[in-house]
């Protein structure tokens, strides 16, 4: 019974393996078409170099060829990946496509490959061997999914910049995903060669590459069963058409393409999106001690955390930040305020390593900012949120926070492959850490929800939870209260103060001046890229330079507006409806400290 379908089943397995080589990079958000080239290199070198089945037996011959092919594929990926890994999206696709074409043309013009007429290969592969290989590949990606490595790849796919800020070495992860793709494509090439008896360079052309990509996308590129489903779909559609008696000819590819269109339109996540996804929750008490997490040593209170001297940033003649000298010491809560365009975000981007300074120097937790990649600065203990939420949208809230715990959790993928209990313990520890952070910001109930489905305020809090998960020494919050109502803002203020009580050093940008004055131990005011005031909240609020920066020059705007806005800012503690309205430059006369400010610090 099964024997009758052996050919079809074998092609489903082969197609799925090829699709996995696309899945391997799609999961990290990379669009590559070079897999056809890797498969071609692997197929020809494997078939050419491996001993004949007649000499050493079928299985040993195939295994040797597979070993050669996978090595060649992986090596090809390294050679291609090193110069191209900085390319994104369609540029990477074009570069890798160019590689695949180059491989095809070179193989066509080689004597030993038989040129266009191809290379004869004995048929060794059976349906059982093909499915064994497929099972191993699928197992690999299944175990990868819930590991620290797998989560890091997904995070890179969702938001590369945020992933960097969580301490993920994006370049290394992307390259390793690419090498995996090369090895899997190599496996496909060799298995294909040992099944179809004759391989020609044209079997691995542009059309083949696109077909592999389509198979992976139709199946679903975010779930490990996707490529298998996609290959089943792609292989069975012609069979169904034959079975129901659709006449051979153009109508068949037409119907198949139409069906493909329907699937993509109604299932943008691919066939695998029909399979419900289970979000794993931590088992065991959430208040358990942080065993299994890599501990981090925080600087003692009073030690310098950030030291900036003469720091400046220039964008084509525009000085966004200039000559900033600032020192932040452990245990401080520093509020950074200033009118729009004052350079606040540029300054924290420099501190967190996202933007290299054009002049001056900055040392953050012992690392020199400028030449150090973002993930190294994150590893030193800097964690941040963004002015516009940069969450991993398609991941659950809990998974977002798990990615945040990247730096303090241990790699688990290889141990998960062998089901080692220690991997499970480490994963549980990371889960508990994530659950604790979610609880801290009050999002425990929404842990299983996708990040993109959360309300705006919840997204801001989730970002804070994610930033907290790495157990940072310095937490940078970029306008955390933006878009929050006054109740939420008050709760956020309380959260920040409680974090400060735990000894965390915090630097935050906020337009809600009332909240800043309430929360901070020190306020730094920027205007036109320069620090115009720095000190305890009371002093800063009374500083005439600060008032002028917010008011504009007194002559321009001397009517009653200032007084009214000042009243609302002063009343923040009593929470009138617009108490947390963003303070607009020129909209306030005085910056009174609300009554409730001083007691917390």
């Amino acid at each position: 019974m099964l024997g009758q379908y052996a050919t079809t089943l074998t092609f489903i397995a082969l197609g799925a393996i090829f699709a996995y080589s696309f899945y391997a990079v799609l999961i990290a958000g990379q669009l590559s078409l070079g897999q056809a080239g890797f498969a071609a290199l692997a197929a020809f070198s494997g078939a050419y170099l491996a001993p004949a089945p007649a000499d050493v037996g079928d299985v040993p011959s195939l295994l040797i060829a597979v070993a050669i092919g996978m090595s060649v594929g992986a090596l090809g990926a390294v050679v291609l990946g090193l110069p191209t890994m900085h390319l994104r999206g369609v540029f990477l696709a074009i570069a890798t496509l160019g590689f695949a074409e180059a491989v095809r043309v070179v193989l066509l013009n080689q004597e030993w490959t038989g040129g266009a007429q191809g290379l004869g290969v004995p048929r060794v592969l059976t349906v059982g061997m093909a499915w064994t290989a497929l099972a191993l590949v699928a197992y690999w990606f299944w175990r990868m999914g819930r590991s620290r490595y797998g989560r890091a790849l997904e995070a890179i796919r969702e938001d590369e910049l945020a992933a960097r800020s969580m301490g993920i070495d994006v370049g290394r992860h992307r390259l390793s995903a690419f090498i995996t793709a090369g090895a899997v494509a190599g496996l496909y090439g060799v298995l294909y060669a040992y099944y179809v008896r004759l391989i020609a360079p044209n079997d691995f052309d542009f059309v083949a590459a696109v077909e592999g990509l389509v198979t992976a996308v139709v199946g679903g590129s975010t779930m490990f069963l996707g490529p298998l489903l996609g290959s089943g779909f792609q292989t069975i559609v012609p069979e169904i058409q034959r079975a129901v008696g659709v006449e051979a000819g153009w109508i068949r590819p037409f119907l198949a393409s139409l069906l493909l269109l329907v699937v993509i339109l109604f299932l943008p996540g691919g066939l695998a999106s029909l399979i419900p996804r289970r979000t794993r929750m931590p088992s065991g008490p959430a208040d358990d001690d942080a065993t299994g997490l890599a501990g981090r040593r925080h600087p003692e209170a009073g030690q310098p955390v950030v030291t900036l001297s003469g720091l400046g940033k220039e964008y084509g003649g525009v000085h966004a930040v200039r000559g900033v000298d600032l020192e932040i010491r452990a245990g401080e809560v520093v509020g950074l305020i200033g009118p729009n365009g004052a350079g606040k975000t540029t300054l924290v981007n420099m501190i967190s390593g996202l933007v290299p300074p054009s002049s001056g120097s900055a040392t953050v937790l012992g690392t020199t900012v400028g030449s150090t990649p973002v993930h190294r600065i994150a590893a030193a203990g800097v964690s941040r949120t963004f002015q516009h939420s940069k969450l991993f949208n398609r991941l659950s809230a809990l998974e977002n926070v798990l990615v945040g715990a990247h730096l303090v959790s241990r790699p688990t993928f290889l141990r998960r492959l062998f089901w080692l209990p220690s991997a499970r313990r480490d994963e549980q520890a990371a889960l508990r850490q994530a659950a604790r952070c979610l609880e801290r910001v009050g999002l425990s109930e929404l842990a299983a929800n996708r990040a993109e489905s959360l309300s705006y305020g919840d997204q801001r809090r989730l970002e804070i939870a994610r930033a907290l998960a790495s157990d940072p020494s310095l937490l940078i919050l970029d306008e955390p209260a933006a878009g929050m109502n006054h109740v939420e803002a008050a709760r956020l203020s309380e959260l920040i103060r409680s974090l400060a009580r735990d000894g965390l050093t915090i630097l935050f940008i906020e337009h809600n001046v009332g909240m800043v004055l309430q929360t901070c131990t020190r306020v730094v005011v920027l205007n036109f890229g320069e620090v115009i005031a720095s000190g305890v909240p009371d002093e800063v609020a009374a500083d005439p330079a600060v008032i002028e920066a917010y008011l504009g020059s007194a002559e321009e705007d001397a009517d009653g507006t200032g007084a009214r806005a000042g009243a609302t800012a002063a009343g923040a503690g009593d929470a009138p409806p617009d108490a947390v309205a963003n303070l607009r430059p020129g909209a306030s006369g005085t910056l009174d400290t609300p009554d409730a400010t001083r007691d917390a610090t």
Partner: protein, 390 residues
């Protein structure tokens, strides 16, 4: 949306179920009974329908050949149906010019119990798929495989198409004699199995005739602009251009050569043997020499009947692929009637003994290597038609 997804899923599952049932019914394998009849030759009568499978490239890169072949087969099938005595159940399937489909189809035809498989269109698919039929003991008749070694796969593999190695030496010999060739430029597309093997045959034949190849120029089968390459060829002042290309490249190459003032003879391979050469290249095609397995201008009665019937049925001129396909099915009928049996082994034996049968292709025999043996023809384009080069 949720219900919609479930509907799609359910429909998909139903379709899968349908598919498995569908192939389940047909996959049982035909019983051997009813395939042997009484009488012999014309009087042979077989009670059951004789199942035949054909694997052609009806879509994809080789679709233009597959369509011609389909027409040739269908024309022959309808003529055989009128003749009576033996009823053929011919299933034509499309391999989409994809070796995976060809392999799958051969597997299915073998499981379905066909008496013989015709095809596949391309030689590389034949190398990949024919072993399946050979292992199962199902005879295969290739109707367009011209690469060397196809019939070496086994004793169940036959073909009625002359190899390039059979046609091209005759072409070169005749051209050398006619034009007194001393040195030539050879051009071929090196990314196609068919044209590359054609080139190899040309190179061997030219060497045998003592003609110097002053330059060999390669291009891609998808190229359409050959002006630079032709100028390069022109600099050698050759006595002729020898070209191995598919018709898609042949038409622009010939046209552009004439535009550039290259008026030496152009000698083409099997890919040139297509009415489109005259239709699309027009005046420029005049004087092009083409070696072919089928002489379209032949006045033997089988050929004249074929030309008329084809024209009446499809309203256009047949090409060599149609002629070979048509001949193929007629030869299968011959083999079935020889022993009045459509058993696989009986057909295999009878095919091997085909000798001096009058066909569209001329007096036709299958040689000891199961390859076709019939006169090739060297043609030249004259007044928009192929004429025999004399």
């Amino acid at each position: 949306m949720r219900t919609k997804l479930h509907t799609v899923a359910a429909a998909g599952a139903a379709a899968l179920l349908l598919a498995s049932c569908g192939s389940g019914e047909s996959g049982g394998g035909e019983s051997a009974a009813g395939l042997t009849g009484e009488g012999s030759g014309e009087s042979c009568t077989i009670e059951g329908e004789v199942p035949l499978g054909a694997v052609l490239s009806l879509t994809g890169a080789a679709a233009s050949y597959g369509e011609s072949q389909q027409r040739g087969l269908e024309l022959a099938a309808s003529e055989l149906a009128e003749q009576g005595g033996v009823t053929y159940d011919l299933t034509i399937e499309d391999d989409q010019t994809d070796p995976r489909q060809a392999i799958t189809l051969f597997d299915e035809f073998v499981n379905d119990g066909v008496s013989l498989i015709i095809g596949p269109t391309l030689s590389n698919a034949a190398v990949q798929a024919d072993p399946i039929a050979q292992e199962a003991g199902v005879p295969v008749l290739g109707i367009s495989n011209t690469a060397e070694g196809v019939t070496e796969i086994g004793d169940y593999i036959f073909r009625d198409s002359l190899t390039e190695q059979a046609v091209i030496p005759q072409t070169i010999e005749a051209a050398t004699e006619q034009f007194g060739l001393e040195d030539v430029v050879v051009m071929y597309s090196n990314d196609d199995a068919f044209t590359e093997s054609g080139y190899e045959a040309f190179a061997d034949a030219l060497e045998d005739q003592g003609v110097t190849i002053s330059e060999t120029i390669t291009f891609s089968k998808s190229d359409t602009d050959f002006r630079a390459l032709l100028t390069q060829a022109q600099e050698n002042e050759p006595d002729a251009l020898v070209v191995s290309a598919l018709i898609e490249a042949a038409v622009p190459l010939v046209t552009q050569a004439r535009e550039l003032g290259i008026d030496v003879p152009i000698i083409g391979g099997n890919g040139f043997n297509n009415p489109r050469l005259m239709a699309d290249a027009g005046e420029a095609a005049e004087g092009v020499v083409v070696g072919a397995a089928w002489n379209s201008a032949s006045d033997n009665p089988e050929n004249q009947a074929f030309l008329q019937a084809y024209e009446a049925e499809y309203g256009s001129q047949p090409d060599q692929f149609a002629a070979q396909a048509y001949t193929g099915l007629k030869l299968v009928d011959q083999a079935v009637r020889a022993n009045c049996s459509a058993e696989r082994d009986s057909i295999q034996e009878a095919l091997g003994q085909i000798e001096d049968v009058p066909t569209v292709l001329g007096e036709f025999s299958i040689d000891e290597n199961r390859d076709a043996d019939h006169p090739a023809v060297v043609q030249v384009v004259e007044n928009g038609q192929f004429a025999v080069l004399q």
